[in-house]
Symmetry: C2
Subunit: 106 residues, 2 copies
Amino acid sequence: MSPPEGGNPFDLNETIHQRSRLGIMTVLREAGEADFAFLKENLDLTDGNLGRHLEVLAAAGYVSTRRGYDGRRSRTWVRLTPQGSTALQIEIEALRTIINRADETS
Amino acid sequence: MSPPEGGNPFDLNETIHQRSRLGIMTVLREAGEADFAFLKENLDLTDGNLGRHLEVLAAAGYVSTRRGYDGRRSRTWVRLTPQGSTALQIEIEALRTIINRADETS
């Protein structure tokens, strides 16, 4: 996980916090494993954008990918790693803190 | 408010979602009005970073600033606009949706 940086009093993890990547991680947590086409459609991302975000997440060790075949069609499957699952949980708790603070002042 | 863009199935508002700006908006909602020095210290931001994020938020119509004096010292006060307050609430609800989805699969 990235070390805390300035401007981050809420322990938000910039790698995951970015909204498309937060969407990808959330969908993967629900789906267990999802293929590229499913993520693309569910998250309304282009091939290029999804590929780039998955590279960032894989470089951080948060997702792993495997290639498989569906008949003759090549497919790429993606899942959260244990490290990714933990990092997502920490981000979720940070978001919960923000929401609770907002609820207290609404 | 910015229109929804691709890669944003959760209606996250990129202007606010960026983690330093989410922190600024959350603190302003609590504080009502805060001066530059208070925000800087609370959010662990440099002058340059805080100034840049406030410019982004002001350009979106989410915060307003006023100059005042504390003795002979010039101070800049910042507060949420009604539009900023509404946008923050929408972002908070989007975050709540993500957390609820995560909680359901944990």
